[in-house]
């Protein structure tokens, strides 16, 4: 149920930047992450993975491993119960229990290099590794399918033999395309026929990785009474509970997931990889605690990439600068099992523009690469790259200002998104105006040194943001401080941005909040930290819980002062009635005669979230001899609704922008002929370093979200979207060449420069 609020503007806490509650533990090394978990009698697990991208498993011989001293258990897919063919929500991904069980441990066939085939548990990590390597697997190697063209070709090798594809409502067997769907309105073909200019391009991009620095890990104890305890680095403990229970065929209530700190996720830590394996190894080892930590090459080869693929994009425009129609085919790689980000890509692709006619066709395409997972605004960066590339060409063709063209065609309140949803109040126009008025846009590009050329690019993008379910509990303690429990994994300071919203209501300093993130037995259901939902949704739960606590305390004050509740007012952290007044923190110590501790709890389930837009400007320099690029100035403009904690909101924008710049300029899965990834290390998978980046300037525009009492919009994801095109168009402006394939790496730039 969506509420609309009159947004408050005079804040005591919101809009300040206090130090986060978990900060001290994180700068002293005390914070406990998944890999740091210790338990009495802990043993280690390890896995053996497929060296082939596509193969049938002929046999698995575990006898040598089982005979090794120090080995407690060996596991293959045969040890798993049959999983239901059922989808469960897992944040930004849907997880199909049967498919994902086969993904975490191969069932007869391997679908990508690095696919887990068997696991062991042994006395220590080294012994576990030696035992896993002693497992002998025989394969019948099959031809790998490495990209969407190969997957959709006639007579392509079929990756998932029992897949029945849904192609525009028709059941199709013997296919690598799991789903084809379409959103369409207006007479698209007629509109193109009547357009003054029509530009159609096809862009391509490689799979890329989220690149979280902490590898996946899990520790599990499956005790004799059937209760399973798990510690695992995750964006959402309840997602780990649901997936682990589902893959093991046990009730969710049998699984308790303990909260541990998470070392980055970006969408890639919503799926489980190791928790069910650790659980089964624990059971087979007599209830010993078993820990697994993924090695870095396997993080690349077998966990969470974002889909690569291909997008055909056709835009019509009239000479007056109005877009007439848009048509796109989005073909995204799901990896070895169905389920790419093509659904959200289709929602986002045209969301910056007010279109009279639009057709969006999405293809979810299996390839012999790791099963893709969410990555920060999943699908939107790929879609944004495609449309903004064509919009840039249209602006060049028309000779118009690139911001004015976007303003003339901007989506606003009432605009229908490509999938039919009508926008409430959104802030794209305000972002474009802020970009136009920015010092960056008004400043000249400046001269490049000899041998180099400079260019400027601009791009916009959209993410719908997430709502969903969250829980927050509050207890006012005798000393006037507040105990707060909330269920959201904290990846960037959300303990504090959530507590600030309760603090604003109660008038109690946020430093007086003791914030805990409990295990799944000790807090109400809370969805993943993903979808840019946490500060908005869990924050709203905290806001509601604080209001409930005020209601409770008004009753206590009425008891104390022997008056009617209706006479008690609360404002400025003070209760008043009939001329008496008492501060909330002073009241805290006087509650015993009124019934003891005062607590409140709130759970919310929000259907909508209120949309996010970003506009980025990039200046970069290209070395014309080597093709090396250097970003020299970068400004990210974003509608944040209301920045609860401006420093942390800005950090989200800066971090997202740099991930997007890496995506544009360097990052890729370099797949060789046998279907394997050649660059599976941080040396060769080239993420931006401190040396590669300038400071990232931000402009936070605040167009309040009508769905939140403080106007908060999710901020975390949209900033990764505009850089793909903003950066690429800057390279285009510098070199005079167009680029339709990511990354725009030095070799590709040199090819373009030397091609004619």
């Amino acid at each position: 149920m969506a509420a609309t609020y009159d947004t408050k503007t005079d804040y005591k806490v919101i809009g300040k930047s206090p130090i986060r509650h978990d900060g001290l533990d994180k700068v002293t090394g005390r914070a406990i992450y998944g890999g740091d978990v210790k338990a009495p009698g802990l043993i280690w697990g390890d896995v053996i993975r497929s060296p082939h991208a596509h193969a049938r498993i002929k046999s698995i011989d575990t006898s040598a491993a089982e005979a090794m001293s120090g080995v407690f258990a060996v596991l293959t897919h045969a040890d798993f119960p049959a999983a239901e063919d059922r989808d469960i929500a897992a944040g930004e991904d849907n997880v199909n229990l049967k498919r994902d069980q086969s993904n975490i441990m191969a069932d007869g066939k391997v679908h990508y290099r690095g696919h887990v085939v068997a696991a062991v548990a042994a006395v220590d990590r080294n012994t576990a590794e030696e035992a896993a390597q002693a497992i002998n697997v025989e394969y019948e190697v099959l031809a790998p399918v490495s990209n969407v063209d190969a997957a959709m070709a006639d007579n392509a090798p079929i990756i998932l033999e029992d897949l029945v594809g849904d192609h525009l409502g028709e059941d199709v067997s013997n296919t690598n395309v799991a789903r084809v769907f379409r959103h369409e309105f207006g007479d698209v073909d007629d509109a193109f026929a009547k357009s003054d200019i029509v530009i159609e391009r096809t862009v391509e991009m490689s799979m890329i990785h989220q690149g979280y620095i902490e590898p996946h890990n899990a520790t599990a104890i499956w005790a004799e009474d059937g209760n399973l305890t798990v510690w695992s680095s995750t964006q959402g403990s309840f997602g780990v509970r649901a997936q682990t229970a589902g893959m093991l065929g046990i009730p969710e209530s049998r699984v308790k997931v303990n909260y541990v700190e998470i070392g980055g996720g970006f969408g890639g830590k919503t799926k489980v990889y190791f928790a069910p394996i650790a659980a089964l190894l624990s059971r087979k080892s007599g209830g010993r605690p078993v820990k697994l930590v993924m090695d870095r090459p396997s993080v690349f080869e077998a966990s969470g990439p974002a889909p690569g693929g291909k997008v055909r994009m056709k835009i019509g425009v009239n000479k007056d600068g109005k877009i007439t129609a848009a048509d796109t085919d989005l073909m995204l790689e799901s990896g070895g099992y169905p389920g790419s980000a093509v659904g959200p890509a289709a929602i986002c692709v045209f969301a910056c523009y007010n279109l009279p006619a639009s057709r969006i066709t999405g293809y979810d395409v299996l390839v012999n690469k790791p099963k893709s997972a969410a990555y920060r605004a999943p699908g939107s960066p790929q879609a944004s790259f495609a449309i903004e590339t064509v919009i840039d060409e249209i602006c060049d063709e028309l000779g118009v200002d690139k911001i004015q063209f976007r303003l003339d065609n901007a989506a606003h309140e009432g605009t229908r998104r490509g999938d039919g949803v009508q926008f409430i109040r959104v802030g794209l126009e305000e972002c474009l105006e802020a970009a136009r008025d920015s010092d960056h846009w008004k400043s000249p590009l400046g001269d490049a040194p000899a041998g180099k050329a400079r260019g400027r690019g601009i791009a916009s993008a959209y993410w719908m943001n997430g709502g969903g379910k969250s829980t927050c509990d509050l207890m006012l303690q005798d000393d006037g401080t507040v105990m707060m429990n909330e269920g959201s994994a904290d990846i960037g300071g959300t303990r504090t941005s959530i507590a600030m919203q309760a603090a604003e209501v109660l008038g109690i300093p946020v430093e007086d909040f003791h914030v805990s993130i409990p295990d799944t037995d000790s807090i109400g259901f809370t969805g993943v930290t993903g979808g840019s939902r946490t500060t908005y949704t869990t924050g709203l739960a905290a806001y509601n819980a604080a209001h409930k606590l005020v209601v409770e305390l008004k009753g206590r004050v009425a008891d104390l002062w022997e008056t009617e509740v209706a006479n008690v007012e609360f404002a400025e952290a003070t209760f008043t009635a009939n001329g008496d007044s008492i501060g909330i923190q002073e009241l805290a110590g006087k509650l015993d005669p009124t019934g003891g501790p005062a607590t409140s709890t709130s759970s919310v389930n929000l259907a909508e979230a209120g949309n996010a837009y970003g506009v980025h400007i990039c200046d970069l320099e290209v070395d014309l001899a080597t093709g090396k690029t250097d970003v020299v100035r970068y400004t990210a403009i974003q509608d944040v609704g209301k920045a609860v904690h401006p420093q942390y909101a800005e950090g989200q924008i800066q971090g997202g922008a740099v991930q997007g710049i890496g995506w544009a300029l360097n990052e890729e899965y370099f797949i060789v002929d046998d279907g394997s990834m050649a660059n599976k290390s941080f040396l060769d998978y080239r993420m931006p370093t401190s040396l590669d980046m300038p400071m990232i300037d931000t402009i936070m525009v605040e167009v309040p979200n009508p769905l939140h009492p403080y106007g908060v919009r999710g901020v975390g994801e949209v900033p990764i979207c505009p850089p793909l095109s903003a950066t690429t168009q800057a390279v285009k402006a510098a070199t005079g060449k167009s680029y339709y394939e990511l990354p725009v790496k030095p070799g590709r730039i040199l090819e373009a420069l030397n091609g004619d």
Binding site: L24, T28, G29, Y33, E130, I213, L691
Partner: protein, 158 residues
Amino acid sequence: MTTKSPGKIHVTTTINGQEHELLVPPYMSLLDTLRELIGLTGTKEGCLDGNCGACTVSVDGRIVDSCLVLGAEVNGKNVDTVEGMATAEGLHPLQQAFLEEAALQCGICTPGFLVAAKGLLDNEPSPTEGRIRHWLAGNLCRCTGYDKIVRAVQKASS
């Protein structure tokens, strides 16, 4: 520890000012020696091949990736980790600056950045932005885009 171990190595080393006497398997990295034998889990594992810097520690004042050093190699040496930065008087200025400047999001790279940055400031109290960026290029952060990390080091240096 393991069946194939040819015998452990006797190591005497000083970690954060405290002397430790250890029996270290010959294959064990300094990272695992710290984490598994001593229990100092502030030093993080990110890649085990020296490319992310999450496991950065100081050995006799020189910063190293502890995943690329053997535990046996620190015999007779001084090892300093993130756990040794704060004193009874309070946080190290870098730790305080990282908090104030919001130089961490998930925090997994933070111990490595802190130890690396301390290695810089101990020798060069007032580095330029370019020098800071060059020095820290061996430490990957995926959350922040480095802006606030560089500003925190600048703040601690002034």
